[in-house]
C-alpha cells in the first residue's frame, strides 16, 4: 500500500471513540463463504475507519439474501428491511424526512435489476444521498437458484436450464440514469471494496457500488462471471485507490503524476493511483466505453468508473429547509390561525 495514515488517538477506537465492535451486527445466517458476508465485513471496517456515527446512519434493504445483510452490520443504526425492489422509494421518503441522516442501502441483482429496476432508475434521477450497494451474484438464492436479470446468457441452473437472455449491466444502467458515483468491485477484492465504500460514504448523492458477490450455493461454477474463480482470474482494476478520512494526514509516496486526489463532500480525500491505463473517472463516455470493452473482452473491470460531485441532491432540488423535517417545531409545521382566516377570505 502506497499510502500511510498517521493516527493520533488511542488504539482500537476511531475519532468518535467507538471500537470496531460498535459497528458489528448480528451473526450472519447466510451460507458460509457467501460473498455478501465479506461485503458486510467491509461495510463495518469502512464505517469504523471513516468514524461514521451509527446514529446518523440508516440501513435499508429490499428482499433477498443480500437484503438480509443489514442485520449483520451496524447494530447501533436503525434500519428497514422493506419490500422487494421497492427500497429506493422507502429510502427517498426517509431521507427527505431527515436530511441529517445518511443511508447505507444493500440490494441484490434480483432486487435491483429485476423487480426493482424502475425504482432504481428513479432513485438515481432524484439523487438521494445514500450508498447503494448491489450484491450481485446473478441468481436468486432465497428461492433456490432461479435466474436474475444479471445472469449470464447461457448461465446454467443446477437443474440444467440455460438462461436465454442477455444480462442487465447495473453500472451501465446507473450511468445512463446520470448517477454521479458509479463503481464496480468484487467481493474477492476486500481492500478495494472497503476503499470504494469509504469513498461512497464521502459522496453527496447516490453512490452505486455494483459488487460481484459470488453465491457459493447456486452460481459458483468456474465459467460464471459471478464466481470466485472467474472473478479472481479476470479482475482488472482501473486504479489503486485509498480514502483518507478528514483530519488525518496523508503521506503519499506515489511517483509524481501517477496519482490524483479528490476532495470528497465530507472532507475526506480520495487518492486514485494510476495502474496500466490512463483513465479519467470524470468522463462518462469513457466509463461507458470501458464497460462495453470489458464485456467484449470478457474482463471484470473494477474501480471507481465515474465520479461527478456537482449534481444537486433531492433535498435541495425539493427546496427543503436545512433543518431536518423531523426536527421542526410544531410552530414551523402548523401555520398560524390568522393565516387560515386570511386564506379563507379567498373562498368567500
Amino acid at each position: 500500500m502506497a499510502v500511510e495514515v498517521q493516527e493520533a488517538r488511542p488504539t482500537g477506537v476511531n475519532l468518535l471513540g467507538l471500537g470496531r465492535g460498535d459497528y458489528r451486527g448480528l451473526p450472519s445466517t447466510l451460507c458460509a463463504g457467501c460473498g455478501h458476508n465479506s461485503i458486510s465485513s467491509q461495510i463495518i471496517a469502512a464505517c469504523y475507519e471513516m468514524s461514521v456515527p451509527p446514529w446518523k446512519t440508516i440501513k435499508l434493504s429490499g428482499i433477498g439474501c443480500s437484503s438480509k445483510s443489514p442485520a449483520y452490520f451496524l447494530n447501533r443504526s436503525h434500519g428497514f428491511n422493506g419490500l422487494h425492489g421497492r427500497m429506493p422509494s422507502l429510502a427517498t421518503g426517509a431521507l427527505v424526512a431527515n436530511r441529517g441522516l445518511r443511508g447505507i442501502a444493500v440490494s441484490g441483482d434480483g432486487d435491483t435489476a429485476s423487480i426493482g429496476i424502475g425504482q432504481f432508475i428513479h432513485m438515481l434521477r432524484r439523487n438521494i444521498p445514500m450508498v447503494y450497494i448491489v450484491e450481485n451474484n446473478g441468481v436468486y438464492g432465497l428461492t433456490k437458484g432461479q435466474f436474475s436479470a444479471t445472469a449470464d446468457k447461457g448461465q446454467v441452473l443446477k437443474k440444467g436450464m440455460e438462461n436465454p437472455f442477455n444480462p442487465v449491466d447495473i453500472c451501465i444502467e446507473a450511468l445512463a440514469a446520470n448517477c454521479g458515483f458509479v463503481a464496480r468491485s468484487f467481493a474477492g477484492d476486500p481492500r478495494q471494496v472497503k476503499e470504494l465504500i469509504k469513498a461512497a460514504l464521502g459522496y453527496n448523492g447516490t453512490a452505486v457500488l455494483d459488487i460481484i458477490s459470488p453465491c457459493v450455493t447456486f452460481n459458483n461454477r468456474d465459467e460464471s462471471t459471478k464466481s470466485y474463480t472467474w472473478g479472481k482470474e479476470h479482475e482488472d482494476p482501473i486504479h489503486d485507490m485509498s480514502v483518507i478520512p478528514e483530519r488525518e494526514e496523508i503521506h503519499v509516496d506515489y511517483e509524481p503524476g501517477t496519482a490524483t486526489t479528490v476532495e470528497m463532500h465530507d472532507g475526506s480525500r480520495l487518492v486514485l493511483h494510476k495502474l496500466e491505463r490512463d483513465y479519467n473517472p470524470r468522463d462518462r463516455m469513457s466509463a461507458l466505453m470501458l464497460l462495453e470493452q470489458a464485456r467484449v473482452n470478457n474482463e471484470l473491470i473494477t474501480g471507481l468508473l465515474y465520479l461527478n460531485d456537482e449534481q444537486p441532491i433531492l433535498q435541495d432540488t425539493a427546496g427543503l429547509v436545512d433543518t431536518p423535517i423531523v426536527d421542526l417545531s410544531p410552530e414551523a409545521l402548523r401555520p398560524s390561525p390568522e393565516s387560515l382566516e386570511q386564506l379563507l377570505a379567498d373562498f368567500r
Partner: protein, 614 residues
C-alpha cells in the same frame, strides 16, 4: 347591433301568466371539453353564491382533454339544497353534438339558451328559447386568437346573467377571484360578459319565470372543493412529506399542497420549504416515500384513486405490519379496472378497509364535505401517529373536484398528537426497550425514531415475522401474540375515530333509520324533507369513520328498519355494518346506486319508497 328584437320562440305561456320562480332552478351547461367553459361556469356559480343564493355545482366531464361533451350543472336553491338534481329547468346549449339529447332532457316548461349557430330542430314546444349570437359578439370584440374560445364562452354568462337577473358586479368579482386578480384576464372576459348582457337587454324579451334575487343564505359560508380543502388540512396538520403520482380525480389534492406550501409552509429565515412534495414514478413509489418518511418520524401522506390504490396495497400491508403511521387519501372514482376515471363512486370501502395480504385492517375516515376534508386532513395524522398505522381518508370525485358551498373549516382545536415516541432522554428512564411490547395494554407499542443516539432504542424495522423486540422470529407464539396485539390496537382505534352525526326526525324518534356517509349527505338531507312531506319520518346517521363508534350499533338497534344508502353495487358499507353488529344483519337494508353521478334526493326518495311500499 343590427339584429332585431327576438321574441322568445315557442314559449308555452305569456310572461305574465307564470308567477316568478325565485332562486330555484337547476341549470345545465352543455359544452365541449377543453373549450374553457370552466371559467364561465365558475363565474355564474360564484356570482350566485355572492348574491346570497345557496348553490351547488357539479361538473360531469369525460376522461378526455378536448373534444368530448361536458355538462356542468348549477343548482340554485332557496331551500338551501345543493345536491345534484336529475333534471334541469334551464339549458345552456353550446354543444351542437348533444343539443337534441340535452333539449329532450329538459323539464317541462323549461328554458333553453343556445348558441345561435346551432341549427338542429327545436323539437320542444313547451320550452322558452333564447339565442346567443356568439359569433357575432366575437366579431365585434375581436379578442386575441389564443383567448377566443375562452372569451366565446363568456357570451352565455352575459346573456344568462341578464335574463336571470345575476348582478354583473358579482360576475366581475367572481372572475377576479378566479384569475387571482389578474386585471387583463378579468377585463378580456368581462368585456364579453358585458357585451352579451347588453345585447340581451336590447334584443331579448324575458318570457320565462326564473329569476335570481339577493338573499342572505350564504353568509359565513365558503365555496371550495374537497381536494383543495384536504390539501390545506394536511398543511395545517403539519404534513412533512408527500409522495404522490398523478391520477384523476386525486391529482388536484397533491397539486394544491404544492400550490399552497410556499405561502403556508416556508421557513421565514431561509425561504425554504418545511414540507417535501415528491411526484413519484408510480403509486408504489408514492406510497413507499410516504412509508419511509413515516418510519423516520415525519407526518407523511399520499393521495390517489382506485388504480393507484391497487398499486399501494403492497406498501399498505407492510406499513400495517411494521406499524408505520401514514395517511392515504383515496379520492374515489368508478372501478373496477380503469373504470370511469371522471365519475364518482363509493366503491373502495371494502378494499381500503382490508387492504393487504394476510390479516390486515385499516381505519377509514369518511369526510362528508370539503369542511370535513380539511378537518380530517389534519386529524388523520393525529390518528395515524397515535395508532402507528396507515389511516385512509375516503373522499370521492364529487367532494374532491366539485365546488361545494360549505362551512369554513375551523382551525385545529388541539395540538398535534405525535403518539408514543421515546426520545434519548426518555430511554434513560425506561429499563428495557422493546418496540412492539404492549406496555400500556392498549396494543400500541412505543417507538424510537432513526437518528436517536441511545443504542438501547435501536430496532430493525422488518416486514418479516418478529418478536416484541423487532427481531426476526418464526416462533408460533411470537406470531400469535403480535397479531393479537395488533387487533387490540385496532380496538383502541375505535375510540379515536370521529363520531357519527345523528339527526333525528322533528317529532320524536322515527321507525326508519337512514345510514349514509361521504358525498351523499346533501342528497340524504333533501330526501328526508321530501319523505317527511309525504308523512315518512326518518332519523339519519352519517358515518364519519370505520371502525364504528358504539352510537352506530345503538342507532341500528333503536330503529325498526335501517337503510344503508351508498354509491356502489355491493352495499359495501352495509357489509361492514353487518360484520360489526351480526345479530342485526337482517335488519340492514341496502339502497345502492352506482351510476357514476352524484346521488340525487329524488333517487333516495323513490328507492326508499319502493321498498317501504313493497
Amino acid at each position: 347591433m343590427s339584429m332585431p328584437a327576438v321574441a322568445a320562440q315557442g314559449s308555452g305561456a305569456a310572461p305574465m301568466e307564470r308567477p316568478p320562480i325565485l332562486n330555484e332552478f337547476s341549470m345545465v351547461v352543455a359544452t365541449v371539453n377543453g373549450s374553457g367553459s370552466q371559467t364561465s361556469n365558475m363565474a355564474i356559480l360564484r356570482a350566485l353564491f355572492r348574491m346570497g343564493v345557496p348553490v351547488g355545482g357539479k361538473n360531469l366531464f369525460p376522461s378526455n382533454i378536448q373534444g368530448l361533451p361536458t355538462w356542468f350543472t348549477i343548482r340554485a336553491s332557496a331551500h338551501g339544497f345543493t345536491a345534484r338534481r336529475e333534471r334541469s329547468e334551464i339549458l345552456v346549449a353550446m354543444n351542437p353534438a348533444t343539443f337534441i339529447e340535452d333539449l329532450a332532457g329538459l323539464s317541462p316548461g323549461g328554458v333553453c339558451f343556445y348558441n345561435d349557430t346551432i341549427t338542429a330542430p327545436r323539437t320542444r314546444e313547451d320550452i322558452t328559447f333564447y339565442p346567443i349570437p356568439v359569433e357575432e359578439l366575437l366579431r365585434e370584440l375581436n379578442p386575441a386568437k389564443a383567448l377566443r374560445d375562452y372569451v366565446a364562452n363568456m357570451a352565455y354568462v352575459g346573456v344568462v346573467a341578464q335574463l336571470l337577473g345575476i348582478d354583473l358586479a358579482e360576475v366581475r368579482g367572481a372572475l377576479e377571484t378566479h384569475f387571482h386578480g389578474k386585471a387583463k384576464a378579468v377585463e378580456s372576459n368581462m368585456a364579453m360578459v358585458e357585451a352579451a348582457a347588453g345585447w340581451a337587454r336590447q334584443n331579448l324579451v324575458k318570457q320565462d319565470p326564473y329569476l335570481v334575487q339577493r338573499d342572505r343564505q350564504t353568509e359565513g359560508k365558503i365555496m371550495i372543493d374537497g381536494n383543495t380543502a384536504a390539501a390545506l388540512g394536511a398543511l395545517y396538520g403539519g404534513v412533512g412529506v408527500v409522495g404522490w403520482y398523478p391520477i384523476t380525480p386525486a391529482s388536484s389534492l397533491a397539486e394544491s399542497i404544492q400550490e399552497y406550501a410556499p405561502s403556508l409552509r416556508t421557513d421565514p429565515e431561509t425561504g425554504k420549504l418545511t414540507v417535501a412534495i415528491i411526484q413519484a414514478e408510480d403509486e408504489i413509489a408514492g406510497a413507499g416515500i410516504a412509508v419511509g418518511a413515516g418510519w423516520m418520524g415525519a407526518r407523511s401522506m399520499t393521495s390517489t384513486s382506485g388504480p393507484g390504490l391497487s398499486l399501494m396495497a403492497e406498501y399498505v400491508g407492510l406499513a400495517f405490519f411494521v406499524e408505520v403511521p401514514v395517511v392515504i387519501w383515496d379520492v374515489q372514482r368508478m372501478g373496477p379496472g380503469t373504470g370511469l376515471p371522471t365519475r364518482t363512486s363509493q366503491g373502495d370501502i371494502l378494499f381500503a378497509r382490508f387492504m393487504g395480504h394476510g390479516d390486515t385492517k385499516h381505519p377509514l375516515l369518511l369526510p362528508g364535505s370539503p369542511t370535513e376534508c380539511f378537518e380530517f386532513g389534519w386529524k388523520a395524522f393525529d390518528i395515524a401517529e397515535r395508532l402507528q398505522t396507515p389511516v385512509f381518508v375516503l373522499s370521492d370525485l364529487d367532494i374532491g373536484m366539485n365546488l361545494w358551498m360549505t362551512d369554513p373549516p375551523a382551525y385545529p382545536d388541539k395540538p398535534m398528537d405525535r403518539g408514543k415516541v421515546l426520545t434519548d432522554e426518555d430511554l434513560e428512564q425506561v429499563g428495557d426497550f422493546a418496540r412492539y411490547r404492549d406496555v400500556d395494554g392498549d396494543g400500541i407499542g412505543y417507538r424510537t425514531l432513526p437518528g436517536s443516539k441511545n443504542p438501547k432504542g435501536v430496532w430493525f424495522a422488518r416486514g418479516t415475522g418478529h418478536n416484541e423486540k423487532a427481531v426476526y422470529s418464526e416462533r408460533a407464539d411470537d406470531w400469535t401474540k403480535n397479531m393479537e396485539r395488533l387487533w387490540r390496537k385496532l380496538e383502541t382505534g375505535r375510540k379515536l375515530m370521529p363520531l357519527p352525526v345523528i339527526e333525528r326526525a322533528p317529532n320524536g324518534q322515527a321507525e326508519i333509520g337512514l345510514i349514509a356517509f361521504g358525498s351523499t349527505d346533501p342528497a340524504i338531507l333533501e330526501a328526508r324533507e321530501r319523505l317527511a312531506a309525504q308523512g315518512i319520518a326518518t332519523d339519519y346517521l352519517r358515518l364519519r369513520a370505520v371502525p364504528f363508534a358504539p352510537e352506530v350499533e345503538a342507532f341500528i338497534r333503536g330503529h325498526r328498519r335501517v337503510y344503508v344508502i351508498e354509491m356502489n353495487t355491493d352495499g359495501q358499507m352495509r357489509q361492514l355494518l353487518q360484520l360489526d353488529v351480526p345479530d342485526q344483519a337482517a335488519k340492514l337494508r341496502s339502497l345502492t346506486i352506482n351510476s357514476g353521478l352524484p346521488m340525487s334526493a329524488r333517487w333516495v326518495t323513490e328507492a326508499l319508497l319502493a321498498v317501504e311500499e313493497a
